[in-house]
Symmetry: C2
Subunit: 384 residues, 2 copies
């Protein structure tokens, strides 16, 4: 018998693990940040216009501001002379004017006048006060990930700071393998890059001796929103991360029917901070991150919890084989005629499988795969 | 007659302007950067494996390393005792062993032995040297925008630095309007955010007096890869950016059949640095950036020049109207049954049109729009 300090991984369904993560990862505090550096941040409050946009009537194009009534009756046979009041697009309409005549439709002369050959109507080429937004109109809704276009609009609305969700602070503990040659060394840089992609801030990324005591001690440190432990889980005699979490807090889920990633663990520190235990094998680590750790980070950052890859229905050109009872991540390549076909699996070539692939299919545990000609939801790597 | 110093915008086709940008914006220098901070950078050289991955035969799972021939004949009726050599997944196979028996299929005893009830074959549960990649295999090809998965793979391959394209250095000159209330104030933060999205570095973002002399003087400064001048272009009497570029270098294209964005200018400083003149009106500035300035930045950064939005064919639920003779950007919203319909245009609501929209359609100059029920290529804002 194995001592109780080293629990064996179970076989929790992926959906159950996701439900646990969603319940444990709650929305974060909000903070004010300068608009100038807010690209990519997620808005935590609707932003309403506090003044109309534009604030007053303004020229919609370059030309000459006129009082429309003074141009009444103008024609090529009866040119009307009006005072020369040049305006550029965006200029406030000068007092006493209510229309703009385009630059090319009037000719200035030497006496500071223009000659008009067509009558203007009030409001011609004028952008009315509030035409873009009236007071109180929602400019950008809460939950929006701010892009350049939002920053432009909010600058027009004279905002210089915005209220956004605080970036999730992440601690990465590398359960350092006893043997220096082991593959876990690759996980730190990969997971750090993933956390950054998902909007998190890596507050700490440290190696911890792969012993029960060292890992348990590391798990009581605080000041972060989520803790990731890389490696040291599984049935190996040298694997103490799960036991350490069980002692340092709560090991809620250990062992998930996910391939790669089946030794994933989920739990909390004694202070209630969510902890994800990620397998040390690189492909398993990556997928445990994408489905559970990344989901938690994306959630607590106020963004959508979904995988940050776009997905699309595509027809399979060849059968995709998957083990029944396991949710399996199957790398695929796009082929002729908008089809996909499987490429060597993560089990065969590890992370190389992600490089040769254009994306992946998630085959649920109830399925043995997908027959040739079936439509499958493909998550595409492009830009992800 | 207008003095020759202030040229009038012409009516160049968008495709001609794009061809000019593509010819002017060439690939940049390359540089070495630490792998740890290389996420999002574009690889400038194929990376080949300099050693096999794995470097030697290793355990594919946690278990016990054995010499397969010693287990010959083992069965539940004839258990065979073998030396206990525990290995974790990823461990190098100890000398004299050639197979791994999974943890759950053997029972260790007190005499440092395991009892085996099934014969193993050489190579069982062993990941062979070079199984992931042999020496010389391409790990990640040139042109790849590095994501977490690549960083993981390259860490496994023991790389700590990678050769990437240098980030394009961008100078932003704000042709400061005479009147403080004018809308150009919004362009700086918006364009800065766009440059950062496209992988560029804003080296300088300064306001320049909107006079011919001041703009011309600013255009001779060097040390950047591309210069963007915001505002001060168009037929207005106060618009000197085009004339300044014509004097300070070359004004190659001035006036493009693009709406919004028709006063866009393209040219070079005397030192040959590409210059894009962007209209001051915010929506026009944004689209002039997306189609020309952003394209140049994306190109010289080694990435794809295309708009960084995903696109998809969608059916129109209502007619999309566009002016013939102009390439028009028409904002659209996604509706029921996977359709799109037009929303108020940029001409009507400026940048607000981007916030109410889910994406946009680019209607070419030869078309008056798209009828109801037609398939159109929609560029989607999501994640862009």
């Amino acid at each position: 018998m194995r001592p109780p300090a080293n629990p064996l991984p179970g076989h929790h369904l992926v959906d159950a693990a996701i439900a646990w993560i969603d319940a444990a990862a709650y929305h974060l505090d909000i903070e004010d940040t300068p608009l100038l550096t807010a690209r990519g941040r997620v808005l935590a409050k609707d932003i309403h216009a506090v003044r109309p946009i534009p604030t007053g009537d303004r020229a919609a194009l370059d030309g000459f501001a006129v009082q429309a009534s003074a141009s009444l009756g103008a024609s090529t046979y009866n040119p009307v002379q009006l005072p020369l009041i040049a305006v550029a697009a965006g200029d406030a309409l000068p007092a006493g004017t209510d229309a703009v005549i385009p630059l090319e439709l009037a000719e200035p002369d030497e006496r500071a006048c223009i000659e008009v050959v067509e009558a203007a109507a009030a409001g011609d080429n004028v952008e009315q006060q509030g035409a873009v937004a009236t007071i109180g109109a929602t400019l950008v809704p809460t939950g929006t990930q701010l892009a350049a276009r939002h920053i432009g609009l909010l600058t027009i609305a004279r905002l210089s700071r915005v209220t956004v969700f605080r970036r999730p602070r992440v601690q990465i503990l590398l359960a350092k393998p006893a043997k220096a040659d082991a593959c876990e060394d690759s996980d730190g840089p990969m997971i750090r890059a993933s956390v950054e992609r998902d909007g998190g801030v890596v507050e700490q990324c440290v190696a911890v001796e792969r012993g029960l005591t060292a890992i348990r001690a590391a798990l009581v440190e605080a000041g972060v929103d989520i803790v990731l432990v890389l490696g040291g889980i599984g049935p190996g005699i040298d694997d103490h991360s799960a036991a350490a979490l069980a002692e340092a807090g709560e090991l809620a889920i250990y062992g998930v029917a996910l391939r790669p990633g089946e030794t994933t663990g989920l739990g909390r520190t004694v202070g209630g901070v969510p902890v994800v235990l990620l397998p040390g094998a690189p492909a398993a680590c990556l997928w445990s991150y994408e489905l559970f750790a990344g989901r938690a980070i994306r959630r607590v950052g106020g963004g959508g919890p979904e995988l940050p890859c776009r997905s699309r229905e595509i027809i399979t050109a060849r059968k995709i084989v998957s083990a029944i009872g396991m949710t399996e991540i199957c790398p695929v390549r796009c082929g002729a005629g908008d089809t996909v076909e499987p490429v060597p699996s993560f089990a065969e070539t590890g992370l190389m499988a992600t490089v040769g692939a254009d994306g992946f299919v998630i085959v649920p545990e109830g399925s043995e795969g997908r027959p040739q000609g079936a439509g499958v939801t493909v998550y595409l790597y492009e830009g992800c």
